[in-house]
Symmetry: C2
Subunit: 403 residues, 2 copies
């Protein structure tokens, strides 16, 4: 299949592009390199040394014999370039990773809030318009987030996208309806993904676009079967307060002997997936697209759930580094349950890479190997959801001190 990977230079996009190429697909990466630009803006770097796009592609060609094409297009700003590319390349599959993906970054300032909304919504709308305008019948796979659901399971397992409810008719009867799960985003970033869902719903209904939306949990791990083949293919490892996701951040903190920073009580339960499984899920979704006329497919892309403080304790034991409880910058419940359905991808054949100590060790070794590249000043999260006040109270309620 001819596949375009939008955002194919990023943390999920790059290993996905390699995996699709390894599976024999003809892959075209489209990226505006914004993730590298934001690193510069924030004064941080991936813990792992990332080669330039040119070096990455040359290394892949050298070790696999396969060519991945690359076009530097900003899909939010260069609509006509995107349209021409789709008309010329005529993809048979399109993966859309090209969104600003950090919740803390999206809450940093008015500028980053506005950038996130602009980049994510205008970009997604451009992709959908270009598919309609080009007339190319190409299934779209989009990376969503578990965060569209909010984090309040409240006794009911979160379904895959659609929820069966009963509503009352005027004659008093209660009837069943299936609705999109009510959105409850916790950041501007998560909000854009809930707004993407409405874009997908509309373009699916009006133009019969074939769309799969993958609501992913927190990704951990760094390497995949393909990125490990050459050091120049190595994947990003973000550890800074904005882009570092919780488990990778703990692993790196453990590796460099920095106290593990738990936000709030650590009572947040989150869904997790290993990067190796992410790339497999993307391939499965692309290779099994919805039929024409089928509604938007929504899968939950995660393999397990854990409480943040349990992960911290696990890594603390492994690394003998202590845990520091810090005020939570997010506006969220101190503790939450999370039960999530994830049958769809398992039924398609996903064989989960779970969080056993061996795999943790692998990441720990990567973190240790590149520890000298770590800038410890960039570890704390400096984005605040709102002016201080409420979170210290939560810590006190939960009986933990803030340092």
């Amino acid at each position: 299949m001819k596949i375009i990977v939008l955002g194919g230079d990023g943390f999920c996009g790059w290993p996905s592009a390699l995996h699709l190429s390894a599976r024999g697909h003809d892959v075209m990466i489209v990226d505006n390199l914004s993730r590298r630009r934001i690193d510069m803006e924030l004064g941080v770097e991936s813990l792992t040394p990332i080669a330039s796009v040119k070096e990455r592609l040359a290394a892949w060609e050298a070790c696999s014999g396969k060519t991945i094409h690359f076009r530097c297009i900003d899909i939010a700003n260069d609509y006509s370039d995107l349209l021409e590319l789709i008309k010329d390349f005529r993809p048979e599959g399109l993966v859309h990773f090209a969104e600003q993906r950090s919740a803390p970054y999206s809450m940093k300032s008015s500028d980053t809030k506005r950038y996130t909304v602009y980049n994510n919504l205008v970009g997604t709308q451009n992709v959908l318009c270009a598919l309609v305008e080009s007339g190319v019948d190409c299934p779209l796979v989009h990376l969503g987030t578990m965060g569209v659901y909010g984090y309040s399971t409240a006794g009911a397992t979160i379904p895959e996208g659609y929820l069966t409810v009963k509503m009352q008719l005027d004659d008093g009867q209660w009837v069943e309806r299936e609705i999109l799960y009510p959105a409850d985003p916790g950041s501007v970033y998560h909000m854009t993904k809930t707004q993407d869902q409405l874009l997908f719903h509309f373009y699916n209904k009006n133009d019969q676009l074939r769309i799969t939306d993958l609501h992913q949990g927190v990704v951990w791990g760094t390497q995949t079967e393909e990125t490990i083949r050459d050091e120049r293919l190595i994947n990003r490892f973000d550890y800074d307060g904005d882009y570092g996701t919780v488990l990778n951040r703990f692993l790196m903190q453990g590796a460099v002997g920095y106290p593990l920073t738990v936000h709030g009580t650590g009572g947040q339960t989150r869904a997790f997936i290993h990067i190796q499984d992410t790339v497999r899920c993307i391939a499965m979704a692309l290779e099994h697209p919805p039929a024409c006329g089928e509604r938007v497919r929504i899968f939950n892309q995660l393999t397990e759930t854990h409480r943040v403080r349990d992960l911290a304790k696990l890594i603390a034991r492994m690394t003998e580094v202590e845990i520091h409880y810090l005020p939570n910058p997010r506006q969220e419940a101190a503790e939450n349950e999370l039960k999530v359905a994830n049958r769809c991808l398992l039924d398609m054949g996903l064989n989960p890479t779970t969080l056993d100590t061996g795999l943790l060790r692998e990441v720990h070794d990567i973190a240790k190997k590149y520890a000298s590249r770590c800038n410890k000043e960039r570890i704390p999260c400096t984005s605040l959801w709102i002016s201080r006040g409420n979170d210290d109270r939560e810590l006190k309620k939960a009986g933990v001190s803030s340092s």
Copy 2:
């Protein structure tokens, strides 16, 4: 109260600004004059001759003794100007009409789809960011649309924004939850209003912004108590296929002897409100804002519902002009029921201006007075939701011919 009216030069914005000024508020209009620009782009003009902003404001000052301020700011593109204005003027109320408001225009081409998404979402996001960044505690009143609900009542009255449903817990128990009514937009324009709801939900939850979202029906009529005071204050009357709303379009067609153009079977039931009631509702919403910490208030802003073909028959009888049934450019059910709750505004004191023959006659007379300004070539709707095919079949099913 000091009030900013964003989009205060448009069809609803202008009479609202006058009404608020007449009620003694200190009004500042912010507008980028995009509605006038789109008229030029489409090669159409309001049936009524619209004075320049400068003339309008001078006329209002002359006949009321009150000053309305004006700033030409594009809220989607000029964030810092908007922010500075809010910091300097320190409004106590902000009305947001500054969105592209035509469904047919939003479906005309890739360019107009993209413009509508960009203008409406980036603009609304900028307003919310500017309120948060400025720290000005100012309630926001936004004009939404009945179209966020879709048009399928299916036996249940549409509530005001929130729907009580039952959902099943893992233990088998069904429990009640109140959710935002599931969105089902019928055009890119309507979609942006459903995405606005998610912006409001988030900024209300995260930053405690006080927001009222008014889901308005189809507006008819032209003049209000204030616009009638001087010919230079006259309101817009759109009759073209893109911006002309259904009832005003029929009245104008009747006035110039052009067959009444019914799309599809005319079995669509729509909600209506007279422009005089629109401006009263805006004032009520501003003068009774939500308390701090209250969730987003949603009111349905309509006074009656009618089937399109019944309105066509009414106007046909009044004007002795025949009805033409044309293929429906929209993707929608040929016939729909529509029952809508609208207690909130009635309970606040709205005394509805209903569709009586006297008022219809008045609008018809305005249309007749300016009939010579009508360009009959611009009456048909030329925007198509999708390539032709399905609608002729619907007409045949319903037993009406297409001409």
